[in-house]
């Protein structure tokens, strides 16, 4: 075998603390090494061409590139050796950047360690085999989880691109948080007027199958061929019959149920359609407050329903869908402001959240768009907005900036003056973060044209004084304590990961950060992809996002799906497990430990034997270490290859 070794400088990244020239010189003495050199940037075009040229001119059978993490450039170099006519698995990388030059400053020690890592790669490469991917068919359907604005955009773009879309939404209507907003920044256009048509498009699109009141139960399979179990929760209304006429809501005697759509600002009925533009516009019974469920005596909705759609005996139903790709667009939840005891969390009725205030401002809200205090219904004249409630605060484990609160607070201050011309708004802020297009201009308008008084400083305490609220805080620009007597206090609550996001991430086998937000594959270069092939992200499930970014990401995820499905067939990774059935004793331990269900037991002439399902195997190697017989081997990482590396290290 003839091996070529290329030691990369990575500019000063590696060369700064590793003597690459002497690493290459040492490599010349390793077994089977026919050629070794150091290069300035091996990933650059001339760097790659040098590899191709050397393979051809020196007649090399394998290549070791000592450079950065294979996560960064393994694909790059595999393509390069392939261009040179070798099998792409005849490449090994030695990570002498992240594992050597970035973590130590001692040039001599670093050089030695780099040389050792190159030796390991050479020893492994000597035992490499050419591997060939298999191609397989794909299901050209996509699952979109979450019907907020990001999910809607992703679904519509995929459907317009000709794909069948399954859209799963956990509440009874799509629209998400955006549907609850009155107006949007920085244009102050009506939220439901711009979202409404998109929601209708979803309902009318023949390529979109919408499952509302549904959740993902389990996900199996792999890119191109996922099988998803969806739990359709009991709505107690036969939606194929319900016309959304709303007669049941009119007659329902349980009128004090919690109104989730209106954020609990007003009550609703036990059977309800969340809002007039709901999609699908179908009624759902809230069993927790329905008299029929609680006492067994009512049945009014069943009596009045003109189409006989009420089904009290309905149970959850689990359906399965086959899809080739998944877009997670599960959005975010709001921080629970009651964790701030000093703001009277949940104790004072006139301290409300920004989203509750949004419902008070909305014409379709419980007050018909007239701003009224929850406590006594009086119109507030002094409204205090408190920013950064549950963002940029380590003490409540929310050190990150939620990004959109500065903007929606400015919008709400503007709308307050619009609704109540003789009102005065105060905004307590830490700093104004308005980097989007026309954003800074917008916050300035709130101050300059709408007279909102911005006070830089945090609020320390809110407490009732008479029938008003005393807001005590600091003005850090004046260097003074300030007190404002307010009629209404609106807490600009930050964003946090949606409830259940970590469970969903585990079902999808994608990673999530310590706050529960889903992790993208690369924060800059692969922002809507995950490390699980075929699973993409859109919107605030990945981190707090405003509407424009969410829509942008929805479209980006859709384009990724369309790009994936543009291929006729997908190639499977050949680095998978193989069972030597002559050595297999059929104990079944590998089948039990495989996290992907890729090992199945088969009958070979009356004996149970393990068999790997190639397309499902992810090459993790757990079965290999589990097998007591050594009958399972992972291609490209066989026991012999790993032992050769260990031997090389121990003998060097």
């Amino acid at each position: 075998m003839r091996i070529g070794v290329f030691v990369c400088h990575c500019g000063s990244n590696i060369e700064g603390t590793v003597d690459t020239t002497s690493v290459a010189a040492m490599a010349k003495g390793y077994p089977d090494v026919a050629y070794a050199t150091d290069v300035m940037y091996s990933c650059s075009e001339p760097g790659q061409e040098a590899i191709v040229k050397a393979v051809r001119e020196k007649g090399l059978d394998g290549v070791v590139v000592a450079s950065c993490s294979p996560r960064m450039h393994e694909t790059t170099f595999r393509r390069a050796v392939e261009r040179a006519g070798l099998n792409r698995y005849m490449l090994e990388m030695a990570n002498i950047r992240e594992h050597v030059s970035w973590i130590g400053k001692n040039r001599e020690a670093n050089t030695n360690k780099a040389a050792e890592l190159v030796l390991l790669a050479v020893e492994k490469l000597r035992r490499n085999k050419a591997l060939f991917p298999k191609s397989f068919d794909i299901t050209r359907r996509v699952l979109v989880i979450g019907g907020g604005v990001a999910g809607i955009q992703a679904a519509l773009d995929c459907a317009d691109g000709g794909l069948d879309v399954v859209l799963v939404e956990k509440t009874s209507t799509i629209g998400g948080k955006m549907a609850k907003l009155d107006k949007t920044f920085p244009t102050v256009d009506c939220s439901s007027c711009i979202l409404g048509p998109k929601m209708v498009d979803v309902a009318q699109h023949e390529k979109i199958a919408l499952h509302a009141c549904a959740e993902i139960e389990s996900v199996s399979g792999y890119v191109g061929n996922f099988e998803v179990a969806i739990r359709k929760k009991a709505t107690y209304v036969d939606w194929s019959l319900c016309t959304g006429c709303g007669l049941c809501m009119e007659k329902c005697p349980s009128k004090k149920s919690h109104d989730a759509f209106n954020e609990g600002v007003g009550p609703t009925t036990a059977i309800n359609i969340p809002f007039p533009q709901a999609i699908p516009k179908k009624a759902v019974i809230d069993a927790k407050s329905c008299r029929q469920f609680l006492t067994g005596k009512c049945g009014v909705c069943a009596k009045v329903c003109p189409s006989g759609a009420i089904r009290y005996e309905m149970a959850d139903e689990v359906i399965t869908e086959k899809v080739g790709a998944i877009v997670a667009a599960t959005g975010f939840d709001l921080f629970d402001h009651t964790r701030y005891g000093e703001y009277g969390g949940g104790r004072y009725p006139d301290v409300i959240t920004s989203l509750q205030y949004e419902r008070l401002l909305s014409a379709s809200g419980p007050t018909g768009g007239h701003v009224r205090r929850p406590s006594d219904g009086r119109e507030p004249k002094t409204v205090v907005f408190v920013q950064c409630v549950g963002s940029r605060d380590k003490s409540v484990d929310r050190p990150y900036c939620s990004g959109f609160c500065c903007m929606y607070t400015a919008k709400q201050a503007i709308l307050t003056r619009d609704h109540i011309p003789d009102s005065q708004s105060y905004v307590f802020y830490m700093d104004i973060r308005a980097p989007g297009k026309l954003y800074d201009e917008f916050t300035r308008r709130a101050m300059e044209e709408y007279g909102a008084r911005y006070v830089r400083g945090r609020v320390s305490m809110i407490y009732p004084k008479g029938d008003r609220l005393l807001v005590r805080g600091a003005d850090t620009l004046m260097g003074e304590q300030v007190e404002v007597e307010a009629d209404l206090v609106v807490l600009a609550v930050g964003a946090q990961a949606a409830v259940g996001s970590s469970e969903l991430a585990e079902k999808l086998r994608i990673s999530y950060d310590k706050y529960g937000f889903f992790m993208e594959s690369h924060p800059k270069l692969r922002p809507v992809e995950t490390n699980t092939a075929g699973v993409y992200l859109a919107g605030a499930c990945q981190g707090p996002k405003d509407i424009p970014s969410s829509v942008g990401q929805g479209s980006a995820a859709a384009s990724k799906v369309l790009g994936l499905f543009a291929k006729q067939k997908l190639e499977s990774d050949p680095q998978i497990s193989q069972v030597d059935q002559r050595r297999c004793v059929g104990c079944g331990k590998c089948a039990l430990t495989c996290p992907f269900g890729a090992v199945k037991m088969v009958d070979v002439r009356g004996e149970p034997k393990a068999e790997v399902v190639e397309t499902v195997c992810q090459g993790c190697g757990i079965c290999v270490v589990t097998c007591p017989q050594g009958a399972v081997q992972l291609d490209h990482f066989t026991d012999n290859q790993i032992l050769a590396e260990v031997n090389a290290l121990c003998q060097s």
């Binding site: 701030y340 005891g341 000093e342 009277g344 969390g345 104790r347 305490m461 407490y463 009732p464 004084k465 008479g466």
Partner: protein, 304 residues
Amino acid sequence: MSQALTYAYYPGCSGLGTSREYDLSTRAVCEALGIVLADVPDWSCCGSTPAHTVDHVLSAALAARNLAKVEAMGRDTVVTPCPSCLTNLRTASHRMADDSFRERTNALLDAPCQNAVTAKSVLQIVVEDYGIERLSRKVVRPLAGLRVAAYYGCIMNRPPEVMAFDDHENPMAMDDILSALGADVRPFPLKVECCGASYGVARRDIVARLSGRLLDAAADVGADMVVAACPLCQMNLDLRQEQINSANRTSHRMPVLYYTQLMGLALGIPEERLGLDKLCVSPRKVLRAAAGRAEAAKAQGSGA
């Protein structure tokens, strides 16, 4: 009856001086509840406010000397009524979790402190170890008709990572105790606000402003009295009430009792054992009025 709750007891300097009634009522109440308090022998000052402003190690050594005495008693928990003492004892323990800090502290002591003792407030053991439910069964004279504002002061629950008890912004321990005693506990928004603390000596105007605000707020929520858990808070609100009144042009006559005194009354302990006579603003009128209201309510209830 299972084994009696027994604790090492650290009364603190004020317990034997300015807040004698807090110490008296604490002992009486614990006796009535069957909680055994064993005084720490030869205890000394916890360091109070001045020590930690000078030197953290010296301050910790003052507290650690007392903790070491508790260790010598063979006890693992020491209770104190005074939140200031509690802060010093707990802060010392907290800092001594660092080995080098503990070494420097122990260098100042005759006998080393192992840092094996947990300091708790009497309030904490009543709520957590004795239990509100059990307490409510011991009430013989419910405080019906008595409208109270529970005032915790700024250090009973702060800093939360050191004190590790109740909510540091909206504590409920005393509210729950007083409700169990039958009192009408008003939602008091300033329960963890500062009373001005030891500025009573140096800057009376600050105390007049801060404590004045507390009395105003208590009156605003319709309370007959403020119920305190801290000797310094109690002193500022009670002893200085006339000064506060004259500085703010108010006319409060607001009794300021320790929660242990009210517990004692509800448990049927004679007044003289609770030190009610040591208060500056007498609670008698308020207590009589409350009893009258309770009678009237009862009569109305039975009449209806």
